[in-house]
Amino acid sequence: METILNVLFSGVFHASTLFLVAAGLQVVFGVQKVFNLACGTFYALGAYFGITVVKLLVDHGFPKPLFIAPLIAAGLLLGLIVGPVIERGLMKFVYDRDETFQLLLTFGIVMMLEDVIKFIWGTSPQSMGGIDLMYGQLNVLGATVPVYNLIVILCSLIIAGLIGYLLLNTKFGRIIRATADNREMSEALGINMKVVYIKVFTLGTVLGTLGGALVIPAGAAVSEMGVELIVLAFAVVVIGGLGSMKGAFIGALVVGVLKSIAISTYPELEMLTVYIIVIAVLVIKPEGLFGGSRV
């Protein structure tokens, strides 16, 4: 029972960050129709930047237990800078092109950002030295769960709620959904596509950097984390359905929990099961579990 709960909790923990990155992927795909391979690299950037900011603050006497506040701020800030820069500097040139070119452009961005990370932070793994453990552990029905992991899950749920609110109850959300549904029509109605695209791409970037910043106290940042994560996020959106937020949520849970079940029972099958499910979904229901429902 305890082990099942432990496995479940670690799965949900993985799922919570996976959801953030996948949500970023979804919103960009839904509106701009670009499958952004760089989402995973944004996640890696967020992780490294988060470590640097928190370390710097702690060295200058910042109260350790409050580290989560600057961490979130770091993730947000980085995304708010990187997003518009990449959108205005590169992405805006390829919206009219074939999706092959859009995909390849994001691949080029991945290559560049990977080396930017290596240039700034080097190739050795970086971590916060177990700062997450200072929140202690909680006993839930016999299973021991780090409190920090619960905080991350909670943050992720709050963000999911906020995204839901943003999409369904605000003007910007209506514009996003309208654009995802019919770009020409929205443009004809007087919506400024340029602004929408900047905002949407930035939202996607922020979700990635925030996800990276949140997860990193519980782990270590390594240079391959971006390209590894994008494949997982890819699995999430395929299982959930491209462009669907609900799909990202369910897909992240499926992939996260499945992964942690496989690791604890038969590690050889870890990613194998994920890919087999991805292929099965693509073959049986290529629109995904929640495909068709927009953003």
Binding site: F101, F107, M112, E270, L272, I279, L282
Partner: protein
């Protein structure tokens, strides 16, 4: 009219140019250093892979993001046959590699060609990564992330184990690989200029119309998929003995991205484009890597530049320049 003239001129220029470049490459080990010859040897392997890849990408309009899978099948075939089964005959390796990858591609292709565009790219990516995890996790068979050693193969039944390594690679093996590249290039040229190749182009440009005209779109896409996989397997099988080592990284999704990169860089709309891309990629990579360890940044920048400013690649730029000159003079 002028345009048509320009194209004929290019064509007249084309064949002698191909022969000259071919002869230069053939004679390279005689006048260039061993290292350059070795680089060109790896180019031959990639060239075979990308001309196969481009049958799918440039001619049929399907972007595979998992094509490194079939290259890896070829490479691991070489590893298994030389190290595990002690059957180091290059001809056997090539035949087995083609058979295995053809069977695998027939299966995977049958699933993938039901989709196009982004779904095709994603499905192929998923299969590539599935194979990657398979190689990684079943280490008792495949050596896991350490991979496997590839021993020196016999060429035409001749044992070269006494020859020093670089002399073998920049000598007999170089010519061997060159001949295979030449044959396969010729075969591919025949394929794309045959009615079959024209059907593929029709499918790329307008699948509905092609279907109306009686072309079985899915079947033709499937053929293209299988042929391109067989080419990739030959490329991988030739690459493995040159590197001497295979590991699962060969089939990681970024490796498939490299194949797309080469095709795009050279220009996927031209028959020789992907090869030009391959040669430029390999020479440039060697140069840039010797200057900085951040070569990926530079290559990423090149890729973004090509995508944004020169989507026709090198061949596209060159041919538009020659056309302009033909029009001007």
């Amino acid at each position: 009219m002028e345009n048509a003239l320009g194209i004929t001129r290019l064509k007249n220029l084309g064949l002698p140019l191909v022969i000259i470049v071919g002869l230069l490459l053939l004679g390279l080990p005689l006048f260039a250093g061993q290292f350059l010859s070795y680089l060109m040897l790896t180019f031959f392997a990639y060239a075979i892979t990308v001309i196969g890849f481009n049958l799918l990408f440039g001619y049929t309009g399907l972007l595979s993001f998992g094509h490194a899978l079939f290259m890896t099948v070829g490479a691991y075939t070489a590893a298994f046959l030389t190290s595990s089964f002690s059957l180091p005959y290059m001809e056997l390796i090539l035949v087995v590699a083609v058979i295995v990858s053809t069977l695998l591609a027939a299966l995977i292709g049958a699933i993938c060609v039901r989709y196009i565009k982004i779904y095709f790219a994603m499905l192929t990516l998923a299969f590539g990564m599935l194979f990657y995890t398979f190689l990684l996790k079943f280490y008792y068979m495949t050596g896991g992330d350490e991979g496997m050693r590839v021993l020196r193969p016999f060429l035409l039944g001749i044992d070269f184990s006494e020859t020093p390594k670089m002399q073998f690679l920049a000598g007999s093996y170089y010519f061997y690989a060159f001949v295979i590249l030449a044959i396969l290039t010729f075969v591919m040229w025949k394929i794309v200029s045959s009615p079959f190749g024209l059907c593929l182009k029709a499918i790329r440009d307008n699948p509905e119309k092609a279907e109306y005209l009686g072309v079985s779109v899915k079947k033709y896409r499937w053929y293209a998929f299988v042929i391109s996989a067989a080419y990739a397997a030959v490329g991988g099988a030739l690459l493995a003995p040159a590197v001497g080592q295979v590991d699962p990284g060969l089939t990681y999704w970024t490796q498939s991205g490299t194949l797309v990169f080469m095709s795009l860089l050279g220009g996927f709309e031209h028959f020789f484009g992907p090869m030009i891309g391959g040669i430029v990629y390999i020479l440039l990579q060697d140069k840039v890597m010797s200057l900085t360890s951040y070569w990926r940044f530079i290559f990423g920048a090149i890729l973004t530049f090509v995508v944004i400013a020169a989507p026709g690649g090198i061949a596209g730029v060159v041919s538009s320049l020659t056309k302009r000159r033909a029009r001007g003079g």
